[in-house]
Point group: C2
Chain length 378, copies 2
C-alpha cells in the first residue's frame, strides 16, 4: 500500500477523506434537522468504504443504480437497498434471487405494463416484491405524472396482485440546470409538493402509500421544508464536483475528488502543458459546458490541491490532456510545470470521472493513502 500520493502512479483518482467526511456530515445533519431519513445514492462512488462512511454517519439504507451495486452491498452486510431505475421484466429473476437470500431489495416502476409484469412474476414465484412508483416532478426523464390515471391504477394493480407498495419516489434531475438559491428552493418545493400529492392521490383511493422519497443533491441542500416526505436520496454530495459548484451548492474546498496527473510534455508556442490525464481519466463529461462557468474538462490545481486560477484542462485525447493557463504568455510553462511534475484536476462530474478508475486512492489529512476498489460494469 502506498504511503503517500508522491508514490502513486498517474493518473490516479484521489479522494480527500476529510472533505468527504465533512460532506457526509453536512448532508446527514441537514436531513436530521429536516426530520427525514437519508438514503444515499451510491452510484457516485460505487465504493464500499464510502458507503460505510455514509451509513456510519446515520444513513438509512442505500439507493443503487444497478443490481450489481445491490449484490455488492448485500454481500457486505447492507440489507435495505432500493434499486431506483424502473425495472425491466428481464431483471426480475436477479431481483428475486437477492430477495431469496434475505436482501430487503425494493424495486421501481412507472407503468402499468411493468407493474403487471411484476405481479405476474411475483405470483408465479410466490413472492411479494417491495415496489415504489416513480413520479415525474419536473419533466426531465421518467415517471408518472400525478394527473395521470395510471398512478392509482399501478398502485391498485400491485396491491391486488399481492405486491407491497412502499410508496412514491421522484428525482428533480432538472436541478442540475439551475444556479440560484431561489430557483433551487422553488424546485425543491415543487419536488416535495408533487411527490406528496402523488401519495395523497393514492391514499385518497383507499390504498396504502407509506413512504414519500425525493431527492437530488441540489434540491436536498436547498429545501426549506420537507413536510410529508419520509426519505431523501442524494448521491454526488459525497464528493461534489464542478457542476455542483456552478449550481452553487458547494464551495471550492468541498470538492473531494480529483485526478492526480503528471506533466508529460509542453507546446510552449501554444502555451500548452500536456498531461497524462486525458478523457480516459477525466471521462468525456462536459457538464459545465452550458453552465455559468465552463471548466473545459476540469479545473487544474497544484499537486497539493490548490486551485490555479485560469488553468483548465481545455483539451482531452484518450491518454493526453491539454492544460492551458490564462495569461500563459507571461509564464515560462516548461520551468514552472516541468516534465514529471504533478497537478491535480477537479472533474466536471464526479460520477463519470470516478467510473473511469478501478479504484480510488483515499488520502487522509496526513497524506497517507488507502486503495479503495470500486465497481465497474453491470
Amino acid at each position: 500500500m502506498p504511503a503517500s500520493t508522491a508514490s502513486l502512479d498517474t493518473p490516479a483518482a484521489l479522494i480527500d477523506r476529510p472533505r468527504m467526511q465533512r460532506n457526509i456530515q453536512r448532508m446527514q445533519q441537514r436531513m436530521d434537522d429536516l426530520g427525514v431519513r437519508l438514503r444515499p445514492h451510491i452510484k457516485t462512488s460505487k465504493c464500499l468504504p464510502v458507503v460505510q462512511a455514509q451509513i456510519a454517519a446515520g444513513a438509512s439504507g442505500v439507493t443503487v443504480s444497478t443490481l450489481k451495486e445491490a449484490e455488492h452491498c448485500f454481500a457486505n452486510g447492507i440489507q435495505d437497498i432500493f434499486y431506483a431505475v424502473a425495472i425491466v421484466p428481464g431483471k426480475l429473476d436477479q431481483a428475486l434471487a437477492l430477495r431469496r437470500k434475505g436482501c430487503q431489495l425494493s424495486i421501481l416502476t412507472d407503468s402499468l405494463v411493468a407493474a403487471r409484469a411484476i405481479v405476474d412474476f411475483g405470483q408465479l414465484h410466490d413472492e411479494s416484491f417491495d415496489v415504489w412508483i416513480e413520479i415525474d416532478c419536473d419533466g426531465h426523464r421518467s415517471g408518472v405524472r400525478i394527473e395521470d390515471a395510471a398512478l392509482v391504477d399501478i398502485a391498485r394493480a400491485l396491491g391486488e396482485g399481492g405486491q407491497r407498495l412502499c410508496g412514491v419516489m421522484t428525482h428533480a434531475g432538472s436541478s442540475y440546470e439551475l444556479d440560484t438559491p431561489e430557483a433551487l428552493q422553488a424546485l425543491a418545493e415543487q419536488e416535495r409538493q408533487v411527490c406528496v400529492s402523488a401519495a395523497q392521490r393514492i391514499r385518497a383511493a383507499g390504498l396504502a402509500c407509506p413512504q414519500v422519497s425525493i431527492g437530488s443533491t441540489p434540491t436536498a441542500l436547498s429545501a426549506l421544508n420537507l413536510e410529508g416526505v419520509t426519505e431523501v436520496r442524494a448521491g454526488v454530495y459525497v464528493f461534489f464536483d464542478l457542476v455542483m459548484h456552478n449550481v452553487g451548492v458547494c464551495r471550492q474546498d468541498e470538492l473531494a475528488l480529483s485526478v492526480l496527473t503528471s506533466v508529460i510534455g509542453h507546446q510552449p508556442d501554444k502555451g500548452w502543458i500536456i498531461t497524462d490525464a486525458g478523457w480516459m481519466a477525466m471521462s468525456r463529461d462536459r457538464g459545465t459546458q452550458r453552465q455559468q462557468h465552463d471548466f473545459g474538462y476540469g479545473q487544474v490545481c497544484t499537486d497539493a490541491g490548490d486551485w490555479i486560477e485560469g488553468a483548465l484542462l481545455t483539451g482531452a485525447n484518450q491518454e493526453h490532456g491539454i492544460v492551458t493557463l490564462s495569461g500563459a504568455e507571461h509564464v515560462d510553462i516548461t520551468a514552472r510545470y516541468p516534465i514529471g511534475s504533478r497537478l491535480r484536476i477537479l472533474p466536471n462530474h464526479a460520477c463519470a470521472t470516478g467510473a473511469q478508475f478501478p479504484h480510488y486512492c483515499a488520502c487522509d489529512a496526513t497524506g497517507e493513502v488507502q486503495i479503495w476498489s470500486r465497481l465497474h460494469g453491470w
Copy 2:
C-alpha cells in the same frame, strides 16, 4: 456462457465478429498493398482476442496507450510493443521491468528534458532503451516540429547516451475533423511528408533513424502513397464508429460495436423511449456534435442491428437513455417499442464506449456469443 444475445443482460457491449474480421482484413490488405507494416493501436479494444485476430491477419507488433496494456500483451505472448505516449520519468521503472523480462518494449519522447531523463535512467540501470521521437505533423497535440533544433538534439542525446533510436513517429489526429476524401488525402500526405522529412533531418546529421511510423485510421485509409514510411499505427478501424462514419471512412455496415439495451419505459407525450443504456454505457462522448451529422449519444438500431432512420439516443443520464424518433407523432411508441423489448445503439466513439464495459459480448454470424474481457484503468 450465453448461447445468444437474447439471453444477455443489458446493457451489453456487442462485437459483430464478422464485421470486425472484415475491418481487420480491409486495413491489413491496404497496408500490405502500400508495402508497410501495420502495428495496430490496441487502445480501442484493450481486448486480447481482438488483438490476436489483428496479429493473425498479419499485424506486426502492437501500439499501446498504457503500460498496463503492454504488461497484458507481454503476459500473453506479444513481444513487440510500442508505448506511444511520451514517457514520464516516473514510469521508467515499470518500462525497465518489462524489458528485463524480455519484452521488446519501445518508448517515446518529444523533449530533450525527457530524453536526458531516459539516458540518465538507462545509464544508471545499464539499459539501452528503444526510443522513438514524436513529431508534430498537424499541431493538434504533442510532438517536436521538424524545424525545431530539438529534433536532432534529442536524437543525438539518445545516441550519445547509449540509447537506441528506433525512428520517428507521428499521429495526424486532426484527421478526425475532416470529411472529404480530398482533405483526408492531403492530410495523409502531410503526415507522411512531415514524418519522412524528420527522419531525413536526423539522418542528414549523421545519425541513424531506421523507422518512420505514422498513423490514424482516417489517414491510413486515405493515403495514396507511403514512400519512406515503414509502419502505420491505427486503432479505431477495428470497430469503426459514428465519428468515423461522418469522417467518411466506413459504411454503416462496417460498424462492429454496438450497445444492446432494453426499453424500460416511455413518455408518450414527448415521444420518448427510455432505455437502460445511459451515459454509463455509451460514455459521455459527443464526438459527432460538431460533425456533419450529430448523432446525439448514438444511432438507434433494431435488436437485429438494422439502423432505424431518425432514431437517436438524444439524452443520457447515468443509467437512463432517452431515444427519440423523427416523425414520432405518427408512431405508437409504447406498442412498437414495448417495455422489455431490445434495441442496439451505435456509439459515437468506440474507444470511449468500449471503456465503459468490463467485457465485450462477441457475436458470430450464427448469433453465438463469447465473453471477451477487456482492460480497465492503468
